[in-house]
């Protein structure tokens, strides 16, 4: 408990310091609220308008919670297939890496043309942004199992399937989880961007609305909510990891 606290307080102090500097410079230099509202302005706005933004938050959360598991599943399936079929990996893995040079977000207009304005293009977008980190992390985890353990399994006569389930899969878990953590934040981002391209509710939609009204304070509230959503998702995954990878010696990092 004490060590957790030791880890938490330095960034906490940094955040408090940053907010204080922000607050001070806004009032010292008389910056207008439509350019940069102060943290207290933003806090006041978020508490007075909580109801107005609640529905949007729920819409974005819902979109994320549909898209993220689908993206995760696709990422895992891609990783498993490429791992179990080495020739497919050789053929497709370089293409997969190359494909990441296309910013998925730039595909958004195309997705709208192909799939309209409903749920589908949004889910496709989230899937596109979050399957990749999971696929890559899982694949590298699967192929980096310990040599000695692999030798042991082979000499003990383990089948390919046994090697996969008893050695490769468990040893890929830590790596899989780092992929999941990255993808979780990507998923929230993907949901917001998906709402920019065509939605009538959600945090992304709300941001666009407030931007055109120059309600900078509300845009900041929206950003804070996005950060919060990402953090919560991240924390849930970290907890799941702690439970599933409890065999791993904890290093103080």
């Amino acid at each position: 408990m004490r060590s957790t606290w030791k880890q938490i307080w330095p960034p906490l102090v940094a955040v408090v310091f940053f907010l204080a500097a922000w607050q001070l410079s806004v009032s010292l230099f008389h910056i207008e609220a439509w350019i940069l509202p102060s943290p207290t302005d933003i806090a006041r706005e978020s508490s007075s308008n909580a109801a107005g933004i609640g529905d949007h938050t729920i819409a974005t959360l819902r979109l994320t919670l549909i898209g993220f598991p689908i993206g995760t599943a696709v990422g895992l399936i891609v990783a498993l297939l490429l791992h179990l079929l080495p020739w497919a990996k050789r053929a497709l893995y370089p293409l997969l890496i190359l494909s990441q040079n296309v910013p998925s977000i730039a595909l958004a207009p195309l997705l709208v043309i192909w799939f309209g304005f409903g749920l589908l293009p949004k889910i496709v977008l989230i899937t596109l942004v979050c399957f990749f980190p999971i696929a890559v992390a899982t694949m590298s985890g699967l192929s980096q199992s310990d040599r000695m353990m692999m030798n042991y399994m082979k000499m003990a006569g383990a089948s390919k399937w046994q090697i996969f389930t008893k050695l490769e899969l468990p040893s890929s878990l830590p790596s899989l989880f780092s992929g999941l953590k990255i993808s979780a934040t990507y998923a929230v981002m993907g949901a917001v961007v998906a709402e920019w391209i065509g939605a009538d509710k959600g945090i992304g939609y709300y941001m666009l609305l407030q931007k055109s009204a120059y309600r900078t304070d509300r845009v900041f509230v929206a950003i804070a909510i996005i950060v919060l959503l990402s953090l919560v998702l991240f924390a849930i995954i970290a907890l799941l990891e702690r439970w599933l990878v409890r065999w791993k010696p904890r290093r103080n990092s």
Binding site: M149, K154, A156, G157, S171, W247
Partner: protein, 281 residues
């Protein structure tokens, strides 16, 4: 330690000399050679190695490090294929076949996500189902090697010596008859080591598995073995074959007998000569 019982999954008759003379050897390695190429340079690691382990015999290999002892185990276990030569078990050629031996690697290589109990049962799990009876046996054995209370622990919570004992049990409880032990006690301190030697001696004399044992420790080899193969430096080949005459059951006191001391001196000298050749070249 004294109430050592039958090794599970196995019912071997107490060593009957007639059986071991007529039955084909548990392991017969003939003419094994192996080279590895590294950066286009071929290095011969094993050169025409032939050796035998009769049924229910304890055979040791001693030799300088890097002479291909572990590689020989990998070949017997089917992990590597030899460039020449064959491996037979019980009269059948099994070169390159896996799953025929029970193996203790040089590093414990316990699986970090398995509890000690599950680690010990891994080999049985690979060949078939593990029932409650096997688990109960595993727990009894864990207690016997001083690991009771650690059944549900993960390997990183154990000391190096405890991990080696767990890896040893994993080999002992494996369903295969022939055991290959690659320097099983090398990571132990001297005291634990001699305790484990005595324990293995007693255990083996009760159960009589066929064992091929790699060690650096000449005294250990003399105490435990029916026969010792002395390997040359790389490329490893057999320099000397020494039959160890001491009757069984052996007690640790034999280490003080003149014959033991003579053999020990002889083997040490061979080893020193090999080492000297290596430093010259």
């Amino acid at each position: 330690m004294s109430e050592v019982t039958q090794v599970p999954h196995r019912n071997i008759e107490k060593s009957s000399p007639t059986l071991s003379r007529t039955a084909p050897p548990a392991l017969e390695v003939s003419g094994i050679s192996k080279s590895f190429s590294h950066r286009r340079r071929e290095t011969e690691v094993l050169h025409k190695v032939s050796l035998q382990v009769e049924q229910q015999e304890f055979v040791s290999i001693v030799g300088p490090s890097g002479c291909g002892k572990s590689t020989l185990f990998h070949i017997i276990g089917g992990l590597e294929s030899p460039d020449a030569g064959t491996v037979s078990m019980n009269g059948k050629i099994v070169t390159g076949q896996r799953g025929k031996i029970s193996y203790m690697p040089q590093q414990p290589a316990l699986f970090p996500w398995r509890t000690i109990e599950d680690n010990v049962l891994l080999a049985s799990e690979i060949t078939g189902e593990v029932g409650e009876q096997a688990r109960e046996e595993a727990r009894q054995w864990l207690a016997k090697v001083g690991l009771s209370g650690f059944e549900r622990s993960y390997p990183h919570m154990l000391s190096g010596g405890m991990q080696q004992r767990a890896a040893f049990l994993r080999a002992l409880l494996a369903p295969q008859e022939l055991m290959l032990l690659d320097e099983p006690f090398s990571a132990l301190d001297a005291l634990t080591r001699s305790e484990m030697q005595r324990w293995l001696l007693e255990l083996w004399e009760e159960n009589r598995r066929s064992v091929l044992f790699i060690t650096h420790n000449i005294e250990e080899a003399l105490l435990l073995s029916n026969r010792i193969y002395v390997f040359s430096g790389r490329p490893g080949s057999i320099l000397h074959t020494v039959d160890i005459p001491f009757p069984r059951p052996r007690r640790e006191e034999i280490t003080d007998s003149p014959e033991f001391i003579r053999l020990k001196r002889q083997l040490s000298q061979w080893m020193r000569e090999e080492q000297a050749k290596r430093t010259l070249t």
